[in-house]
Amino acid sequence: MDNSLGELVQKFLNGDPKAFEVLVERFRRKIYSLAYQVLGNHLDADEVVQETFVRVYRKREELKDVKYFSSFIIRVATNYSIDLLRKRKGHSGIPDDTGTLPGSIQLDLSQRVATPSDDFEKKRLMEEVTRALEQLPPRQKLTAILHDVEGYSKSEIAEVFDCPEATVRSNLHIARSKIKKILKQRFKAKE
């Protein structure tokens, strides 16, 4: 955490309303992006943004140290997103990837995605990834989004979920493995 953010958080904890407004400006895009990736629509993402800041404001006494503010606010947003996700559509998990790798796939995927002209293929792959993400259990989905989409480090995610880094690593690997399995099945069916 940089010093300016630390000072800002300290002012907010001391009851400075201006500091809170600056924090809203600074974090709202991050919260919105995370919520949108998890819930997939603007309305729910807006609700998460609003509720996250209201909860952070009301629960600011729970923040023990200013250096944990980022993980604190992301945790609030993550928990509320998971609640909303469960409320909106329930959840149906997919089995762990225990099968062997199919040897029949002949796609040179790196080439396909890396080729700038192949926008249609990239879009199709992106849609498949989005669909595959939707099938993951909330914790794995959030871990994959936080790490691979939003760019948080494994240690930051461990702080958010209040769990060991090894658990984050494991969740991330399982999530990726499941997404790859779904993608392979889709592409195998379409080939």
Partner: protein, 189 residues
């Protein structure tokens, strides 16, 4: 390095989190193993796709609305509360709340004691009426009523008056037991 080991390290390899030595060994394995290389390609593509998966920016109006709602539910709400209730008003409100609590507790206790006193008084009245074999119509065992020499047969007018009293004051067993304050006074004497 076996395929099993290479695949176990693959995600960390894609994330660039392996030591230089392990990274070299995985790279060497991938160069010679088509199946693991394909798995690596899937992992790389997936990582790249997820990296590019950005949420669209909400428009300005939406941001403004959400931000205003946040402020309305947090900072402004607190500010308004503070403005409406000054420190003196808050202290006064707290004192008022305390007085209201004391009064309500006192009222509850008064009602409770009244009920207890009335209950015991009523029992005493019944006992006194029974002991003096008063002609007042009270609930007495049928056998006592039949064998007693002091059975008073009320006139139709008296019965009508009692019925009216019951109608007004309730059934026998509660206030209807006493037809009027006058009868009540006569009963306890």
């Amino acid at each position: 390095m076996t395929c099993h080991n290479a695949l176990a390290l693959l995600e960390d390899y894609v994330d660039g989190e392996l030591s230089a030595e392990l990274e070299a060994r995985v790279r060497e394995h991938l160069a010679g193993c088509r199946r693991c290389r394909l798995e690596f390609e899937w992992s790389s593509v997936l990582k790249e796709l997820l990296k590019q998966k950005k949420a669209p920016d909400p428009d300005r109006d939406r941001w403004a609305e959400t931000t205003n709602l946040i402020y309305a539910r947090t900072v402004e709400q607190d500010t308004n509360r503070y403005r409406i209730m000054s420190v003196a008003e808050r202290n006064s409100a707290q004192r008022g709340a305390f007085v209201r609590s004391v009064v309500s507790v006192a009222a509850s206790l008064a009602i409770l004691f009244s009920a207890i006193l009335l209950g015991s008084g009523s029992q005493q009245q019944l006992a006194r009426v029974s002991a003096s074999e008063s002609p007042i119509f009270v609930a007495a065992p049928l056998e006592d009523q039949v064998t007693s020499d002091n059975i008073t047969v009320a006139s139709d007018e008296e019965n009508l008056r009692r019925a009216k009293g019951m109608l007004l004051l309730g059934p026998p067993g509660s206030l209807g037991r006493f037809i009027s304050p006058f009868d009540f006074a006569r009963a306890i004497n």
